[in-house]
Symmetry: C2
Subunit: 426 residues, 2 copies
């Protein structure tokens, strides 16, 4: 007997028929002898519907107290879907009870619409589990010290599920979603992309931060911090498939670096075109220029990703970095307005037609020459590299966005990730 | 400066545009210097939508724990509408905060789907009011001792509003609805029906129990118990009408029996066709027959309204009573199966094509002959009276349902309730 947490996304809860299938699946696990906790999202479309109503009653954002009321509003979506799932489980003959975040309670800070979980009291839930009940806990929400409802931000239900699993010391947290696992790269770009049976927590973190949308990055961070074994799997397999088959499907995000995992140098290729490049040209090369440029950007609440500073020539240097595309124009205006004159720099130029492509793999730690193999591969395809950024288990390059698909496909082949490459053990 | 509670029904909250109008109306009252508490219902249709989803996931009612989950589900409707109203008030420039029943808290017993309010803690609300905030409190719901959400049953938001007004010792509780007050009778039956400017609490109670749907009867009982001045008025007047005009519109349900109120003998005519008549014929006239018949009915959880026992003849009597039409067949079957053989009665006959018509008026206390004036009026119209029931301030008759409209119109005229009767002061 194990304690298992299931999390179901909005699509999996998208209709009453789907909710009944979720109930049948959970009942199957319960009947196999497991203690079951289920964390559902709101029915798909519900959160958007509620937030659209808020926009209709207040077209302009009406100040500070607005966030608290948005959370009161949006949290009703998960409360309703959780109650419906409890009813569906009761219809399957199980004893089931649903709790809103505040009833557990899941304590958070008071950063409305993007709160962070601070603690979870497991007493009530554990008593129910010991009494043989299936416990349903609303995703996405909690309660602050003032007794106000908070929400965790978009995709927060993943984080709720992992946090609940951590608090209960669950044996595994299964994230049911509309894809059947984590892939070596996006199958829409590379048809040969393979599902990974296992991926390390650190690789998953890099892939999630790089735009792989399978899991909310905060949930991966949480899983890492509390060592919660996570599995991503499809909620669209028939509910009555063999439990053992289901329990080993999808992708396991693991914390054990076993021998198998060492074999593959690169586990996946991540990419995104959400960024834009900004370059400050002809900056007098003095100490403190990075701070003068990036300090002003940070003060404007703009996040910076890749940063490079060219070699100095004649006492001048060029300084480049990437920001989210939504912040591109704001960044350029900010630099032109105040920073460039103060620095005595020559100009600011920008390019929003770039993309970032990354290879991610825990094997990079113990293999040399992986990055240069990546650069050679891109060079062979005639792709010019504009910026490079590296970490222990990832190498990212910024290139012209028109080469994105070409680069991803070439790298996928180069690192033997194609489905046909049967030399890869996993 | 007064402390005022506004309650808005589902139709008044039925769209985001209507919610904005509610916000503008509340803002007008707040700007006039009043402390404002608002109790909204769910947006019209929302509660039905949610309960229909529950029925889809569990076509059969799945046992005892079902009620708790239904309340978790249904309570989200008011939580959402309350948050939307808070946002709309913020958009009007006011400081507004919404509370779910559990946040106040409004404590109830644990009779899910039909809970009763036990206490209301006014500390949090009062602190907000003193800080100049408009406070919105979800109608229809509370929390039990176990920390579970409860709901008060259909129309429970009226009761929530009155209970909140009582707890805060509000100066007046205004129930905004889709009619503009309490009428002498249903204007769809008698076009000459007049709106009453004031009606006594006891008259309102009799009319509500008789099927006048303006207010939930429990809210009237609550208002009576705690002496909360209640006003029923329309939410469809333009929000920007003069506040003094608005504050005196509709119908005031009052606890003061002033001189004016003595003038009218009858205040209104109530009627319903929800009942059916059951007669047990040829019952041997011995002590205890009423208990033997009605005890069995009560044990089956069937409510009995009017009861008559005929004069005995040859040691036999007939015993008749009315039940809700939904319980009619069940009652007849029950009596035929066990009670009639045990009693040695001759037969059970029933008639579901009856109606009940009542005259209600606090003036009946001090006027004699009101009932006989009613009977004469009906006799003049050729209407046969089947049963009679009286109380201090009401006389009810059971008649053939085909005469219902005729009887109501005739009595409305007989007791000078028509709009043309300008001899009536109010």
């Amino acid at each position: 007997m194990a304690l298992i947490v299931h999390k179901y996304g909005g699509t999996s809860m998208g209709s009453t028929e789907r909710i009944r299938n979720v109930a049948r699946r959970v009942a199957k696990w319960h009947k196999a002898g497991h203690q079951m906790v289920v964390v559902p999202s709101a029915m798909s479309g519900e959160t958007n519907r509620l937030l659209a109503l808020a926009k209709e009653v207040a077209p302009e954002k009406p100040g500070k107290a607005y966030g608290r009321e948005l959370d009161m509003l949006a949290s009703t979506g998960e409360q309703a879907s959780s109650a419906l799932l409890a009813i569906a489980l009761q219809a399957e003959g199980l004893d089931a009870v649903s709790y809103a975040g505040w009833q557990v309670p899941i304590k958070t800070n008071d950063a409305y619409t993007k709160a962070r979980i601070e603690s979870i009291d497991d007493a009530r839930v554990r008593a129910d589990l010991d009494a043989g009940k299936v416990v349903i806990i609303t995703g996405f929400q909690g309660i602050d010290d003032g007794g106000n409802i908070t929400t965790l931000g978009r995709g927060g239900s993943d984080t709720s599920a992992v946090a609940v699993a951590a608090a209960l010391k669950a044996n595994e947290c299964l994230i049911y979603t509309d894809v059947d696992g984590v892939y070596t790269t996006d199958p829409r770009v590379v048809p040969e992309a393979r599902r990974l049976e296992r991926v390390s927590f650190e690789e998953m973190l890099e892939m999630a931060s790089m735009g792989s949308k399978v899991l909310q990055i905060r949930s991966v961070e949480f899983a890492g911090k509390y060592k919660v074994p996570l599995r991503v799997l499809s909620s669209f397999t028939p509910w009555d498939i063999d439990l053992n088959e289901e329990a080993t499907s999808g992708t396991l995000i693991t914390f054990e670096e076993d021998a198998d995992m060492e074999r593959a140098v690169v586990s996946g290729i991540a990419f995104n075109r959400d960024e834009a490049k900004v370059s400050v040209l002809g900056v007098p090369d003095k100490p403190g220029i990075a701070y003068q440029i990036l300090g002003a950007v940070a003060e404007a609440n703009i996040e910076v990703d890749v940063i490079i500073q060219n070699l100095s020539k004649d006492g001048k240097t060029d300084f480049s970095f990437t920001v989210h595309r939504n912040d591109f124009q704001k960044t350029v205006d900010l630099l032109k307005g105040k920073v460039v004159p103060a620095l005595g720099a020559a100009d600011v130029v920008g390019d929003s037609r770039i993309c970032k492509v990354s290879i991610v793999g825990i094997g990079m730690r113990s293999h040399v020459g992986v990055a240069s193999r990546m650069f050679k591969c891109l060079s062979d395809e005639g792709i010019n590299i504009q910026m490079i950024s590296t970490s222990e288990i990832k190498t990212s390059v910024v290139i012209d966005e028109k080469y994105m698909e070409l680069a991803v496909r070439a790298l996928h082949r180069e690192f033997d990730l194609d489905q046909t490459a049967d030399t890869i053990a996993r």
